[in-house]
Amino acid sequence: MIPRFALARPASLAAAFDAWDATDGDASWYAGGTEILQVMKMGLARFGTMIDLKRVPELRGISLAGGDGELVIGGSVTHREIEVNQDVARELPGLVALEAHVANIRVRNQGTLGGNLCFAEPHSDPATFLLACDARVRLQGRGGTREVAIDQFITGPLETAREADELLTAVIVPSARSGEGRAYEKAKFRERPAVSVGIRLRVQAGVIAEAHVSVGSLTDIPMLVPDVAAAFLGAQADVAAGTFGEALAKARTRLGHLDAIGDLDGSPDFKRHLAGVMLGRAASAALSEAAARA
């Protein structure tokens, strides 16, 4: 059962921090509650006060208002809101496709992108993709506001760089440059991905000039794998081309050296194999998008 707690429901960011200050720190923020309430039900966490962020207007909304038209997604925007947003569909279609398949429809309607990142579940879909996208998060506390790159933000399984009294107010994703394609592919057998791969490729003059690859649900945290990404550099931006096939094979070999963790979805060997399959599919999708942005 969910243990007893006091509930605060602030209606502004300032009121949220006031609510925090009233608690002596035995408190947790929550928005959708799809992760934290489960953990509390299981008896693995308890807090004297839960501060509900759903009514805080500063955490809402999606815009292209960042520098250079960056995509800015409010901390309490739900997965479903992202999935149906036209700006996201145009700017970062891979995220729309990802959000359409996060967990299940109940989680998508209730759970938030910010909550997902703050919980830092090793199987997180968005964390894996946003790593490849070079996204960053905006954290705000009494002391001020800071922006942290996703790969600096996620510090371990269920661990982030966020201080307990800080709020994740926004997720910021740089806009795609010309010749750039971003994609995400996962194998999913249950609620969470079995393995997932995020990729960002930039094509110049028909060859892959820049590559970033992330993997999720494979090791203990979603992580960038630069040596896997490097395998693609210089390959022709055409899945039918021999150099691309060689690059993919090399990338898969390098994936195979990762220290994968077995779980209910499969052994480390199988999960490494799946990662290779997803890498191929994601790379192909990213190249298609890159061609469209050429």
């Binding site: 489960q38 194998a187 057998f189 249950r190 209910l264 979805d265 499969g266 199988f270 194999h273 399959v277």
Partner: protein, 768 residues
């Protein structure tokens, strides 16, 4: 939107209205709007709440339990352990209808992780929960065994040191044989000369197959409420068999059946998992100790720890002639029964009966043993031992077809028993036409055409000797306004009994459906019924209702004769034509009692005589076809098309038959593809929740063709017979057979997870 198509093939005579009509479910609106009442919704004045402390150890001796901190919490009414119950002297701690091996609370030893160790009663649920967490238990861990091979090994821990007494439910005498202390029961099915069958065979196939420990996942978790008043006990509970629970609980508390009342309101899903007794003895014991009505509602996670389905390891060997005819089959089935017997002895019996399939086999040698392990207790589960054996049995039929160069449908045609022919001695002949059903599936699957690359089709068939004792009674009261109330012990578990039984009453009395009401599953108020399971209700209770209607009509014929000094009384719809004048039922009742009052009570019964003398009362056959796609990169199997045949004799309500068939088949997808309770060797359940235990969902639904075959060949009213399990039993085998044809791999361990498929593909490629 997935394409769904219904086909009906009807050769039976036309029954009276509204039989054969898909009238809307009577409970539909209430269930969709939330107005329907389940046991969870019930409260009584003065009610307190209970929670259970469960063992974290899969096998341990309990050195001591300290309840003082829990008792000291404000709002706590009682904290109860097995010692407290034993000290009273008025409670028999152990229950179980097959074997009385199950203590209400752990009696000095815990045998699985999640076993109930103590109960707490408090003013509210959260206080009870907090108090349960405050109980201190000192455990001494013991050696653990979670699998059947280990449990039969020489160094295996003995899970039940004392042999349990047989329960009140008869019929297990021959099966309770323990050649090893961890054997709960043994069932044998043996005839013919098995040695000769193998010696002269053209082809002998051998294999080892596995079927998972599973969970039925009823949306309503186990829950009950108990109240002691005036020396009697009333229990509201989510159960399939209120009368069997009544009998079981009455033994626990030494109560006369008349002082023991069990009420089962709408049951939010059963699938066998709510057959027999679960948490009712504990709830009643807590209420007795607390001196208050007590309500206990388990979570889904706790429900998983209460009852699951039997996993199986099957070693099977089948001998064939060159033309595909089966010469003999030998099998050893080991069921993982978990810590307590529950209904597994009967599951074992049925598994032994059902592994041979609907075939003409000259020699059989089948042994099925239910094995105790340190896992949650297994019991009834839709299909009841059949799918565990149909996967190996039907896989070998396909394997033989492939080796002998015979089409999979043709090899089945050469072996399947004809209508009226018994698959083994001393049982009813098959009351189904599987040759015809095979043709229906072949046509719907477009069997003769070539599927797309990476796609293939597969079929499997099965026959279950319905485990339904023909013991039911029913009362129909016809009121002075001509409306009627029927009382039956059948529970509405989502299968649609509230609708079907009303249709039967309306048809038998010739009155409008909206003039019929039903009272179900209150042991103090309704007529006796043995159980709601084994797909029996429409057939057996339907016959009891027909008999009750006949009895009411006979009484009213006498009454009409007396009242009107009639010279001729003729049958008519809704009444009699008495000397040329139509007299409705209400008019006859009123005339008999000389006023605007009175009623007639029709009594119906079914027992093991006449048409229902020979067992089984009916066969439930399964005939399923699938088309699958195999993603060889990820190992994922996708079922693109599903065809089932509901061979039900007469569909009282075709839409409900189709719902049952589709539901059964999709439930079969679960164990075939995704569902398995995964235990570590140390006895920890890794996925005891509905997030990580993956049941099928609407998005897994393939294109579906549901065929209803109505040939009037059942023992029930208008030729009806049971449905709702038959389309589950062959599903895993049909999928395995299709995957073999799609990818050239033979899957022998269900569920067919992506990794198992991937491994099989690697083995296939390595062998090239």
């Amino acid at each position: 939107m997935t394409r769904v198509e219904t086909r009906r093939v009807t050769t039976r005579p036309t029954p009276p209205s509204p039989i054969g009509e898909s009238v809307p479910r009577r409970d539909g609106v209430a269930k969709v709007t939330g107005a329907a009442r389940y046991a969870t919704d019930m409260t009584v004045p003065g009610m307190a709440w209970a929670k259970v402390l469960r063992s974290p150890y899969p096998h341990a001796r309990i050195r001591s339990i300290d309840t003082s901190a829990a008792k000291a919490l404000p709002g706590v009414i009682a904290v109860v352990t097995a010692e407290d119950l034993k000290a009273r002297g008025d409670i028999n701690l152990y229950y179980g209808h097959a074997l009385t091996d199950h203590p209400i609370l752990a009696d000095g030893v815990v045998r699985y992780s999640g076993e109930a160790v103590a109960g707490v009663v408090a003013e509210d649920e959260l206080t009870a929960y907090e108090a349960a967490q405050a109980i201190l238990v000192d455990y001494e861990p013991l050696t653990v065994v979670v699998d059947v091979e280990g449990a039969l090994g020489s160094g295996a821990p003995i899970i039940h040191e004392k042999e349990a007494k047989q329960g009140f439910h008869r019929g297990f005498d021959e099966d309770i044989q323990r050649d090893h202390p961890n054997v709960c029961s043994t069932a044998v099915q043996k005839f013919g000369d098995i040695d000769a069958a193998f010696v002269g065979a053209h082809l002998v196939l051998e294999g080892e197959y596995r079927y998972p420990n599973s969970y039925a996942y009823a949306m309503e978790p186990y829950n009950s409420m108990a109240e002691w008043r005036h020396g009697g006990l009333t229990v509201w509970t989510s159960c399939q068999h209120p009368f069997m629970v009544r009998d079981d609980v009455s033994h626990v508390f030494n109560l006369a059946l008349a002082n023991m009342r069990v009420i089962a309101p709408y049951v939010g899903g059963g699938y066998g998992s709510k057959s027999y007794t679960k948490i009712e003895p504990l709830t009643a014991a807590l209420a007795l100790v607390a001196g208050r009505p007590v309500k206990l509602v388990l979570s889904i996670d706790e429900s998983i720890l209460t009852t699951r389905g039997d996993g199986a390891r099957v070693r099977i060997k089948t001998a064939f002639e060159a033309d595909g005819r089966i010469r003999g089959r030998q099998a050893e089935i080991l069921l993982n029964t978990g810590a307590y017997a529950e209904n597994s002895p009967l599951v074992a019996r049925k598994s032994a009966n059902r592994i041979s399939g609907p075939y003409r086999i000259p020699a059989l040698d089948i042994t099925c043993r239910a094995i105790y392990t340190n896992t949650a207790p297994a019991s009834s589960f839709r299909g009841f031992g059949a799918p565990q054996g149909v996967l190996p049995g039907e896989s070998q039929i396909d394997e033989a077809a492939e080796r002998l160069g015979i089409d999979p449908i043709e090899i089945r045609r050469r072996n399947v028993v004809a209508p009226g022919e018994a698959p083994w001695p001393k049982v009813r002949g098959l009351d189904a036409d599987l040759q015809a059903d095979l043709s229906l599936v072949a046509e719907a699957l477009d069997w003769a055409s070539t599927p797309q690359p990476s796609h293939a089709r597969g079929i499997a068939i099965s026959a279950s000797d319905a485990g339904s004792e023909p013991v039911s009674t029913a009362l129909i009261r016809i009121h002075v306004d001509g409306s009627a109330t029927a009382t039956i012990g059948t529970s509405e578990i989502g299968q649609g009994s509230a609708t079907v039984m009303a249709q039967i009453v309306a048809a038998e009395l010739g009155i409008a459906l909206d003039k019929v009401s039903l009272l179900q599953s209150d042991t103090a108020a309704v007529a006796y019924d043995r159980s709601t399971g084994a797909s029996r209700s429409t057939t057996i209770v339907g016959l009891a209702l027909q008999d009750a209607a006949r009895d009411a009509r006979e009484q009213m014929r006498e009454w009409a004769g007396e009242v009107w000094s009639a010279e001729s009384i003729e049958e008519a719809r809704g009444g009699f034509v008495v000397d040329g004048v139509h007299r409705g039922w209400g008019e006859i009742v009123g005339a008999y009692f000389a006023g605007d009052f009175g009623e007639v009570v029709g009594r119906g019964r079914v027992r093991k005589v006449g048409a229902t003398k020979q067992m089984p009362p009916f066969w439930e056959v399964g005939c399923v076809g699938v088309e699958v796609h195999v993603d060889e990169e990820t190992g994922q199997i996708r079922v693109d098309k599903l065809v089932t045949v509901g061979d039900v004799g007469c569909a009282i309500n075709p839409q409900l038959v189709e719902s049952q068939d589709l539901g059964a088949a999709i439930m079969g997808f679960g164990m075939a593809l995704t569902e398995e309770l995964i235990y570590t060797n140390e006895g920890t359940l890794l996925n005891g929740n509905i997030v990580e235990y993956r049941v099928p969902r609407a998005s897994d639904m393939p294109e579906y063709i549901g065929i209803i075959a109505e040939r009037g060949d059942g023992v029930g009213i208008y030729g009806a017979k049971g449905g709702g399990e038959g389309s589950l039993n062959p599903v895993a085998a049909a999928i395995a057979n299709a995957v073999r044809r799609a990818a050239g791999i033979r899957l022998r361990e269900a569920p067919f997870t992506p990794e198992r498929v991937w491994q099989a593909i690697q083995e296939r490629d390595a062998a090239k």
